[in-house]
């Protein structure tokens, strides 16, 4: 058994150590780790309210005090040498746009890249992502040869679900067949791409004057 003296990038323990280091630094600055989401840190005082969201080594700051922003950025820079790209525009493939009305989130570039990689430049568009007359199941049609490309495609569709609730149902259906995809499943996946091509820029919109009323809808089928 050996004791690790220095935590190098790529080691098994590195991520845990990074998390410990960042967390202890933030806690020392008066941030509180939220119980509902451990990558969310909150600092509130009578004059300011600052939120810090961490994804590995990418950090988003939000709040109402620019002084507090500057303060925490200096502290982070002194410890880790950070880069500050300014106002949030692009984060993990999500495009963020700000306007007076609100903030919009979309994955247009990710979606277009996905379409380009699948060779979808000149195909016909469809208005819905799935055909209701076709129920997907483990059918007897010939197996789709390139299993790994099917899996990769579904993986990318799953990531696209971050801002696209409209394809989540069909993605869920398609991901049931990752072990043995058949031609039918592949055709259905291609239909999703044809749907996406009709509206690659669709995304979520968060208006600034939103009311705090939580509504939920639940259904089973």
């Amino acid at each position: 058994m050996c004791k690790l003296i220095k935590y190098l990038y790529g080691l098994k323990q590195a991520s845990r150590k990074w998390y410990e280091k960042l967390t202890s630094l933030l806690l020392a600055q008066g941030f509180k780790q939220a119980n509902s989401d451990h990558s969310l840190f909150i600092k509130s005082s009578s004059s300011s309210f600052t939120i810090l969201l961490v994804y590995v080594d990418d950090i988003i700051l939000a709040g109402n005090s620019l002084d507090e922003f500057q303060n925490i950025k200096t502290i982070l820079h002194n410890s880790f040498k950070i880069k500050d790209p300014g106002q949030l525009k692009y984060f993990l493939g999500l495009e963020v746009a700000h306007s007076k009305q609100g903030i919009s989130l979309c994955q247009r570039k990710y979606c277009l890249d996905l379409l380009a990689d699948s060779g979808f430049r000149n195909s016909k568009l469809v208005s819905t992502p799935s055909d209701p007359s076709i129920k997907l199941h483990n059918d007897s049609s010939p197996l789709y040869e390139d299993i790994s490309s099917y899996r990769r495609l579904i993986g990318r569709l799953l990531y696209l679900n971050t801002t696209r609730p409209d394809i989540i149902f069909v993605t869920q259906q398609l991901s049931q067949f990752l072990t043995k995809p058949t031609q039918t499943h592949y055709t259905a996946a291609m239909r999703v791409l044809r749907y996406l091509k009709s509206c690659p820029g669709k995304g979520l919109f968060f208006p600034r004057d939103s009311t705090l009323k939580l509504l939920g809808f639940s259904d089973a089928d």
Partner: protein
Amino acid sequence: MDSRRSISGQCFFLGKTLISWHTKKQLTVSRSSSEAEYGALAAATCELQWLLYLIQDLQLTCIKPPIIYCDNQSAFHIAANPVFHERTKHLEIDCHLVREKLQAGVMKLLPITSQAQIAYFFTKSLLPQPFNVLLSKLGLVDIYQPPPCGRLLHNEEIGDDKSSSRDNLLPKLSS
């Protein structure tokens, strides 16, 4: 479909913005549609509780108690009181989380007509017309493609916003 298990779907709006959505094949086979609905309701309750914790952590307060809409009457009754013992005694115990949270006043459970049930979007493959109706209610925006003039006001049927959105519409029409 091969496994005979149901699919639960849920979505949550904060104000008029969709903030959380989910589609998942349930873990167990259900013997009735109410059982499947009740299972979906339990999943939705867990998500709601987490959202409430998150809102609390962000030091915000909801103006009204949150509401979950469900279109299955018997799922309602199972949540309200321990009746139908014969038909519900085999339900997973964790599903009764719904009843507990209801009694604690964490949320309200309200019925909804099938036409207004947005969660259908997450459990069914739909024809273009209903698909587009529900899609417009989700409030997705394509900032690269401005909507054509005179589009539908989305979320008109959600909750009690009906009157307010009508009122908003009227002065615009007259001007």
